[in-house]
């Protein structure tokens, strides 16, 4: 039932999958996520939504080959099915007309920022998107982001495209142009989101981040995804995933992400071992 309608490789190891899930597509809003499970043996994996088509009944997700399960999903092809596809989960982004807003996407984080930027633009905002990646060949969804935004600034670590540096350097360039930025969405690796909020805190610009902690059920039942926001424990799955970035304890969140590192490595090694076993 939840089969892949369309697959596109966005960069090495990064795949876009458009999945048939009409009931989810009917309800999903920007900022929400889904949980997928490939088969009986698989983990439940939370993925933020990159796009949705209510008429076609599809949800588009973007996934990078970084671990055991993500490697298998990245390798899925058109027609392949997910056994389970749950959503929409989490609270939707607060979309309203703020004036000028900045949407920052770092690496894979460009995917979830896409529907938010588009909705903000449709709500009348002047949307300046700042996209970051290690290098030009890893930059994903540039065309989609140009269509969803009023302006786009690109920052690459190696300077192969746009500003040389990090998304914070791209943001600095936007702010230097004198824009009165009312709100910022920043989605990407924890370390990137931390750098952005450290930068915007002193400027007093409201900065929303989307947290991606370890999760199991995604409905508030297990509490694995707890994070500290303003010294209060919150569950990212039901209270978030978006939070006021200036209140999030990123150091704690980053430590918690490492909890299953050993097991992840074991699982990945096993996958690589199987691949070398002669099946491929």
């Amino acid at each position: 039932m939840y089969h892949v309608v369309k697959k596109r490789l966005l960069a090495t190891g990064i795949a876009l999958l458009e999945v048939n899930a009409p009931a989810v597509a009917a309800k999903v809003e920007p900022g929400q996520f889904v949980i997928v499970r490939l088969d009986e043996l698989s983990e439940r994996i939370p993925l933020t939504v990159m796009d949705f088509d209510r008429e076609k009944g599809t949800i588009t997700i973007v996934i990078q080959d970084v671990g055991y399960s993500s490697a298998i999903i990245t390798g899925m092809n058109e027609g392949d099915e997910f056994q389970d596809f749950v959503g929409p989960l989490g609270v939707a982004s607060e979309i309203e007309n703020y004036g000028t807003v900045v949407c920052i996407g770092g690496g894979l984080g460009i995917a979830p920022v896409h529907p938010i930027a588009r909705a903000l633009k449709e709500a009348g905002n002047h949307v300046i998107s700042v996209l970051g990646s290690r290098s030009a060949d890893l930059l994903i969804l540039e065309d989609e982001m140009r269509a969803a935004s009023s302006e786009v600034v690109i920052a690459t670590n190696d300077g192969s495209q746009g500003v040389k540096g990090f998304v914070t350097d791209g943001l600095a360039e936007v702010l230097a142009q004198g824009h009165q930025v009312k709100a910022i969405w920043a989605i990407g690796p924890m370390i990137m989101m931390k750098a952005v909020v450290d930068y915007t805190r002193s400027l007093g610009i409201k900065t929303i981040v989307s947290m991606n902690p370890i999760m199991v059920d995604g409905t508030g039942m297990c509490g694995a995804c707890r994070i500290s926001v303003g010294n209060e424990t919150k569950f990212a799955c039901v209270d978030g995933p978006e939070f006021d970035g200036h209140l999030v304890d990123f150091d704690l969140a980053m430590k918690r992400l490492a909890f299953y590192k050993d097991e992840e490595n074991r699982a990945k090694a096993r996958l690589e071992c199987n691949h070398e076993g002669g099946h491929h």
Partner: protein, 470 residues
């Protein structure tokens, strides 16, 4: 006269033990602990039943199982019929025979228990239900359709029991389940070694054969709502979403790596089969020393699971004394036999971590018992200056669960109490919203499987009445 003599003799026959795996063996595997009665033992035990004309045991059962009747069938050796009699009132007998607190319910009312030992009703229930399951001859009678549709939110004990009775009344039932399998706590919470998942699945498959439709991956409150269900042709809705929101202690260090809610720890192990990692991709991790905070059945399940996952020392940390522990006696005994260490009159005050953010130790305070408190139990009082630290790698918080707010907050007009539980009429379980009923932990707060099933059945009766009047 002869009957009386007969009965006096029966009082003297001791209750038959149920064979179990040896503690040292079972503490390291996930196979079922209790092995069930052999046929001869079941007949012998069933013959102890006095077949009271006015059976008190039934009054102790939340779902009013026809206890003397099914036991009589076992005594006669008609095990198949015993299973059928069970199913008249109980749609999940193989589950109840394993996890019901019979000693506090049916068996506590048994006349034999006054002078001797009560009939082992729970063990007999398990025996008859398992026989029916293994013979594969469970009868499924599809009643005439009423033309009415009922939506049930949550495929846990309350929802399944409600669905079973509504299907028997001829109503078309659809269950909306948030997880990828039906069963609720029977699947994610209660461990394999106490309630094999194959048993739960068979009982659920029986419900499906009765015509109950189960839709998994449906998070009501997100993908649809109670109001939308009513607009989309359901004549009534039952909310049985349980107590799925874990409570934490609110002590320093609870977000360190190595601290689990019991829900997470058990879900990873049972639902996701983390004990079979890496064959199953979801990991679950325990260290050498594991503390389980709390002393209810969930705490015992967590402690025994930790042992089976390879922990060396597993502690139950509880601030009251042994007599106040809320877990079933059998669970406590099983845990103790397996080597779980009880640290009673002890309360954790902080979890200490290392520089990488992992649990390192648990700081506790010793307690003594003071005057009785509001609960009637002697209140634990902290002993000043009694702090001590125990090295610890893993901490599982099992101090209870609250109502999950996803459904309740997305349903305008639904009256809640101050704890967030749904307010429902005690007789019909109708809520403040016409046509919407609720039962189980979402109404009462965290309780037992059988109480939730009782509520599901009560709600089914309420819904049936409501639909007949429509």
């Amino acid at each position: 006269m002869t009957e009386k003599v007969e009965n006096t003799k029966k009082v003297k026959i001791p209750r038959h033990d149920m064979p179990c795996q040896e503690p040292q063996v079972r503490a390291r595997n996930f196979e079922e602990v209790a092995l069930g009665y052999a046929q001869e033992t079941a007949i012998e035990e069933a013959k102890r039943c006095l077949q009271c004309k006015n059976p008190k045991c039934v009054t102790g059962c939340p779902v009013s199982v026809l206890i003397p009747e099914f036991i009589k069938k076992i005594a006669e050796g008609d095990f198949q019929e015993a299973g059928n009699v069970l199913k008249v009132k109980n749609s999940l007998p193989a589950v109840c025979g394993r996890v019901c607190p019979q000693e506090a319910q049916c068996e506590s009312k048994c006349i034999l228990g006054i002078k001797g030992e009560s009939v082992a009703i729970g063990r007999l229930e398990r025996f008859a239900a398992d026989f029916g399951m293994q013979s594969g001859k469970s009868e499924v009678v599809k009643p005439q359709s009423s033309g009415k549709r009922v939506a049930i939110i949550g495929a846990g004990p309350a929802g399944l029991a409600c669905a079973g009775d509504l299907a028997k009344d001829g109503h078309a039932v659809t269950i909306f389940e948030a997880l990828h399998v039906a069963g609720g706590v029977l699947m994610y919470g209660i461990p394999q070694f106490r309630l094999p998942k194959e048993i739960v699945q068979t009982e659920i498959d029986n419900l499906k054969q009765m015509g109950v439709e189960i839709l998994t991956n449906q998070v009501v409150g997100k993908i649809t709502s109670v109001d939308e269900l009513m607009e989309n042709g359901y004549d009534s809705v039952f909310i049985g979403t349980g107590a799925g929101l874990p409570y934490f202690m609110d002590i320093p260090g609870e977000n360190l790596n190595g601290v689990y809610s019991a829900n997470e720890f058990l879900t990873r192990t049972n639902l996701m089969k983390g004990y079979k990692f890496p064959e199953y991709a979801t990991p679950v991790k325990v260290g050498k020393n594991v503390a389980v905070l709390g002393a209810g059945n969930v705490a015992m399940d967590s402690a025994r699971t930790a042992l089976r996952l390879g922990a060396e020392n597993v502690y139950i940390i509880y601030r009251r004394s042994r007599d106040e522990m809320p877990a079933r006696k059998e669970e406590l005994e099983h845990a103790e036999e397996e080597g779980i260490q009880f640290r009673l009159l002890t309360n954790p005050v902080a979890i200490e971590g290392d520089e990488r953010g992992w649990v390192k130790s648990l700081t506790c305070l010793r307690y003594e018992l003071g005057e009785p408190d509001a609960s009637g139990r002697r209140a634990p009082v902290a002993i000043k200056g009694s702090e001590f630290e125990i090295p610890m790698d893993t901490v599982v918080v099992a101090i209870g669960q609250g109502p999950n707010p996803l459904v309740t907050t997305s349903t305008p007009g639904l009256e809640l109490n101050k704890r967030g539980n749904i307010v429902a009429d005690p007789d019909t379980l109708v809520t403040s919203k016409p046509g919407v009923f609720a039962g189980g932990d979402i109404v009462t707060g965290a309780a037992t499987v059988i109480l939730a099933m009782g509520a599901g059945k009560k709600a089914a009766a309420g819904i049936d009445q409501y639909l007949k009047g429509k």
